[in-house]
Symmetry: C2
Subunit: 352 residues, 2 copies
């Protein structure tokens, strides 16, 4: 089976690696930047490169369009023009309504893998990038069933978990759990810098560091995401402002009971969200106080690793002098195994 | 020198340990909960406990009030009534205007150490908790200079960095960098759960996990912080809503250039904030892709630790199947040392 990859960066390159290794596909690549196509060939992400979209697509059974969002609809339309009748064309863009509406073709299925935004470029591409990752697909009433089935099977073969979703719901959902958090991170940084005037900021705590970690993410990518999903993001912003306003009213009324109930609900809801999010059942948060001793993070990780406890998430909160602090760990199960494994290290552990 | 600690939890207990060890103080404790006083005595956080505030305070040169915020002003007032004329009384509450206005006494100085909110209880108390930590002090025009000087010296002796700040500025600053981030975390969780109806959440990305990490923090503590700092927090919320509105207008206008500039500014500002925040100069972010291999976090931490590279901050982003992902590290210097130390592990490293 011939598969074409148009746009060969981290995602496109990983699709290429994975389909060749795991589905035995013959992968042909094209990139709007000729040197990028050369890099992709050199790293083995694709087996061959072509000088045009039409050459890459001709005779292919499936086409993955993974260019930057701004040129994506044009490349996908060109691919549909050149593709055989029995060829499924999909994309990997972060928003879905615009492209799905524009490419009203029974061979096109919008797609969005939730994977790999951190390190860009084909040199970071790898066959297992999509292992276990949700890969949204947005079929419409026009979508040809045999092509949907083919795409679904290819994605399963490379380890992803295809999930069908309405394009509008997809965009609304991503606006809430991804795009709005990025906006809020930028807003908080802006507020801290602009709003405090000449006052020197204190050694800021983990809450500020965590909440602003994604501030100023790759501008070329995020400008396009914001613009492509503008209306869903505006709705999410309006929703957030309404909720902020409701909490503001509780503050104005000094309603301690309602504030407590609101806070308790958030704690329970977040736990449910993250436990539902991470496959494999219960996850427990542990807080390990670590003294001023080199290598203690490694000791903790090794102790848990040797005992077979999986660390799902970890954050290190150094004291302001950076030589002590605590480690927050999310581990599988109820945390008792982890506590027992950490006991020999004689570090205070709190289970939350 | 006799020092009294009123309210002996994590903070009060650590003050006790530190003043005894590092300042040679005779530390006497009192706690509103009798059993807590007993625990404090048993762990050595204080050298003696008393049955009343007056007994603890009598003859003391300094008094630290570290009870829960709700009872703090009352206990501090009682301490001032019982304290000698040559005795400084301070507190450790997270907001400062209310108590500073209420306790209009030349012996009272409001205080707030930025340390140790993660694990509660005297059993986690330790002498080095305040090492390198900013410890805000809010003297007023009435404050007696000799008592301020004494408190400043005691805090320096236990390793803290005392910083004088106007109480109103303190509360505004904390509203922005701590209280508002907690509110936004709750709002986002609420929005994700309530706003999406029956739609199942996807494997959420690191941005959502990071920004909601502090959602639903200890209700008893945070309800009181929100209430005590209500007006500054309302202002911070209004400010955030104004900035959200401004970004919303950019989206409405599809102003890509302004969105790009706004995002670029956030990236630069956050870097400046965090570099200013962490003592010791330049800090560089590294992203290490980690494959499906047990112990890899420990290997990374050990490789850097053996090479003398300090990890200031770390976050683990697992792939949805939890068996691979990437590690974000903030390390000292320009990151080249760290890259060289990680080279033998043959993991893709991106410097950003």
């Amino acid at each position: 089976m011939k598969v074409a990859v148009l746009g060969i960066g981290l995602i496109g390159g990983s699709v290429g690696h994975a389909l060749a290794e795991r589905a035995g596909a013959e992968v042909v690549g094209w990139d709007p930047v000729a040197s990028a196509a050369g890099d992709a060939l050199a790293t083995g992400a694709v087996g061959a490169v072509t000088a045009s979209v039409a050459e890459a697509v001709g005779g292919a059974s499936a086409v993955f369009v993974a260019t930057p969002v701004a040129v994506l609809p044009g490349v996908a339309a060109e691919a549909l023009d050149a593709a055989d009748d029995d060829c499924v064309v999909t994309d990997v863009g972060s928003t879905k309504r615009t492209i799905v509406e524009r490419l009203d073709d029974e061979r096109f299925i919008g797609g969005h893998p939730l994977a790999g935004a951190a390190t860009a470029g084909v040199r970071h591409a790898r066959a297992d990038l999509f292992e276990g990752a949700t890969w949204y697909l947005t079929p419409t009433a026009r979508t040809r069933g045999t092509l949907y089935e083919r795409l679904h099977r290819l994605l399963s073969q490379i380890g992803a978990r295809p999930a069908a979703i309405d394009a509008a719901t997809h965009d609304r959902l991503l606006a809430t759990v991804s795009h709005l958090p990025h906006v809020l991170a930028n807003v908080l940084v802006d507020q801290a810098v602009q709003g405090l005037g000449s006052e020197r900021l204190p050694a800021t705590g983990p809450s500020f560091r965590d909440i602003t970690r994604v501030a100023g993410s790759n501008t070329a990518i995020w400008r396009d995401i914001y613009l492509a999903n503008a209306d869903a993001l505006v709705s999410a912003i309006d929703d957030a402002m309404e909720r902020l306003g409701a909490f503001r009213a509780l503050l104005d009324a000094a309603d301690g009971d309602a504030i407590a109930a609101w806070n308790d609900r958030a704690r329970g809801d977040r736990r449910r969200l993250l436990e539902g999010d991470l496959a494999g059942g219960e996850v427990t948060e542990l807080r390990v106080s670590v003294p001023n001793r080199p290598g203690v993070v490694a000791e903790v990780a090794l102790a848990l690793g040797h005992g077979g406890v999986n660390i799902h998430d970890m954050a290190l909160y150094p004291a302001p002098d950076r030589s002590s602090g605590y480690i927050v760990l999310w581990v599988g199960g109820d945390g008792r195994d982890a506590e027992a494994l950490l006991a020999p290290l004689d570090l205070p552990v709190a289970r939350g």
